[in-house]
Symmetry: C2
Subunit: 417 residues, 2 copies
Amino acid sequence: MKIKNNCIIGQSGGPTTAINATLSGIIEEIISSDLYHTVYGMVNGIEGLLQGKYLDLSSLFDTKEKRSKLTTTPSMFLGSCRFKLPTCEDSESIYTSLFDFFEENQITTVFYIGGNDSMDTVLKLSAYAKNNNKAVNVIGIPKTIDNDLPVTDHTPGFGSAAKFIATSLLEVAHDAYIYNVPSVTIVEIMGRNAGWLTAASALARTSYSPAPDLIYLPEVPFEIPHFIEDVKRLRKIRKNIIIAVSEGIKDADGNYISSCSHDVDAFGHKQLCGVGKTLENLLKSALHCKVRSIELNVIQRAASHLSSLTDLNEAVLIGKEAAKLGASGETAKMMCYERISDSPYTIQIIQADVAQIANHEKKVPLHWISEDHNDITPEFMTYLRPLIQGEPRIVYENGIPAYCDITHLHQKNYFHL
Amino acid sequence: MKIKNNCIIGQSGGPTTAINATLSGIIEEIISSDLYHTVYGMVNGIEGLLQGKYLDLSSLFDTKEKRSKLTTTPSMFLGSCRFKLPTCEDSESIYTSLFDFFEENQITTVFYIGGNDSMDTVLKLSAYAKNNNKAVNVIGIPKTIDNDLPVTDHTPGFGSAAKFIATSLLEVAHDAYIYNVPSVTIVEIMGRNAGWLTAASALARTSYSPAPDLIYLPEVPFEIPHFIEDVKRLRKIRKNIIIAVSEGIKDADGNYISSCSHDVDAFGHKQLCGVGKTLENLLKSALHCKVRSIELNVIQRAASHLSSLTDLNEAVLIGKEAAKLGASGETAKMMCYERISDSPYTIQIIQADVAQIANHEKKVPLHWISEDHNDITPEFMTYLRPLIQGEPRIVYENGIPAYCDITHLHQKNYFHL
């Protein structure tokens, strides 16, 4: 009888409400199709694994009920890291530690769920394995609310964040319309370089509410005089104006409009905050009217109570397909969605070389942005709409959602590799 | 055959997700028990009515289906105002306009849904009617997310905001725990002078998540050195600290901690913003660690997609009881909740003289705040817990909630009184 191998899963980068759904899908497929013996989970991604932090997912999620709870739990059950794996030339010891650990634990497949930075880890680990004849294959599975990965039609996590943003925007509009006083409301939405999420705010529009009246994406230069003109023009016909703006809008010279952007993270990305506040102050002095700004903040990526069922179902499915691909021995691939049709909305799961994705960013195509740079096109709406359909059943206990216990993320003592 | 009279309903003050449930309850009871001929609605409260803005609610909501949609619609279907009714001595013409309008339209009852400022309107109108022998009675119905009205056990709208805050806090905790980097997250919650909503963040605690670790209410002085000590002490035992703080915390001299508090609204209340940001900067310089602040902002009062079913059901019920009381001819009363028992949780609807409520504020009792002023007591939790139970069924269309059409709030042309 063949002795089955083990596998390990890691989560990395920023959280989404669908990344645990993918984790759940991988475990589900492995258990139901008996693909591996034990499914391990890295705690705090590859960085945590290097500190000896891992656990046994196959025993933790041994029932359908437990896996179902995991599917609707926000953020990352396994914890995350923002760790740029050094190149093998710079630090070979890291690679030998990791692959020694894999060998000792009969781990033949690494599944890594993350964004474009995390796919860099997939690329490096798979290249090391290939170049050093290690019997370990590495499969990447996308996730990011930012929807900025190439090849895949969209990313798991995007649809849920989009649904929360659209719903909140509609609720903010109901809040704004009640006073008979002219007002401008600026809603600041996440998205460093890509405007996908800000664009999704357009899904808030109904027959009675045109909000957001204006949408500004980081793909095109943000011209302050044009912005003020846009608002002035609208104020002549509308009492309450609602504006959706990406945190990452920049002027024609590429400088962020946001007021505090000096800090950078481990990947050299600028840390943004305050573009809403900056524009609020700008409009207050230019128009002398009531202006308020709202930052949707981390809630937009953590609000599992309002996920998109389409997103969660697809995230589970892409996890299942990843498990099959991993068990087949394939390596250096990232799972992708391919859209077959908009109506009826249909996708299939395909695979792409991870080198096509790692460290690349997919921005909103310019032909999906309106000519005057303050809205999106109907074609973009057709792309977005299917992604926010459906509501998962959330179990509540004591009046709040019943999510998975994540006590292990508080733990300090793990065995060191 | 007796010719039936008409009535009019107004909504005023800040929005909640339960104020339309009360409106729906009043209309429901009037239609099903045939209490009045026509139910009018003031658009933009008493201020809008003075500009001739009103509509016919009995035809707009003539089916159970339409009233059910109204029950789960956020903010105020009728629009609001922040208008301090002048005294009769200062401006009698306002009163004669209003009561002429009531007489011309056979309006014998005014229902006014609002907070303590709105109850001042109820008090003044009912006093005018009494002193001038006008056959108009006036009934107040409470609403405010702030829960700061005296006499009533709690206010409609509070439970839903509390449920959204507790859920978001738990989701923010899931978001914060994933990085193996010490961090402090400050969540700024609404509540100018009363800490009820900030206290409700404690409902986020689960067996695996102690968040919020610290809670600061405006009822007790906020001492910056104590605050820094609290955080320093916790950092020794916990990696990720989550703090709930009221927008209205003040120092021992009564000065707001928030950095920008110079603007005042029509009632002379200071407009607050930025306490989270102020504390974030303070902790960054004191502790040199990762600190972020999150402002829950207007979403906490507008998120109908996550209302408390208990809150909505009670809000409908208090509307129904108000309709009955109004039809009985009673005046100058505000409807109240009286708690019969915590477990099983039971309330009954009672009435109180509106003079007991108008312009009064109910703060959190000091014995419900922990001795070291950074948490709440178990008794307070017992009070809070029942108010967030249950989830209403929200109908979604096109991926977003299907709320009531509020086009009339955009309209500019109304007949002038």
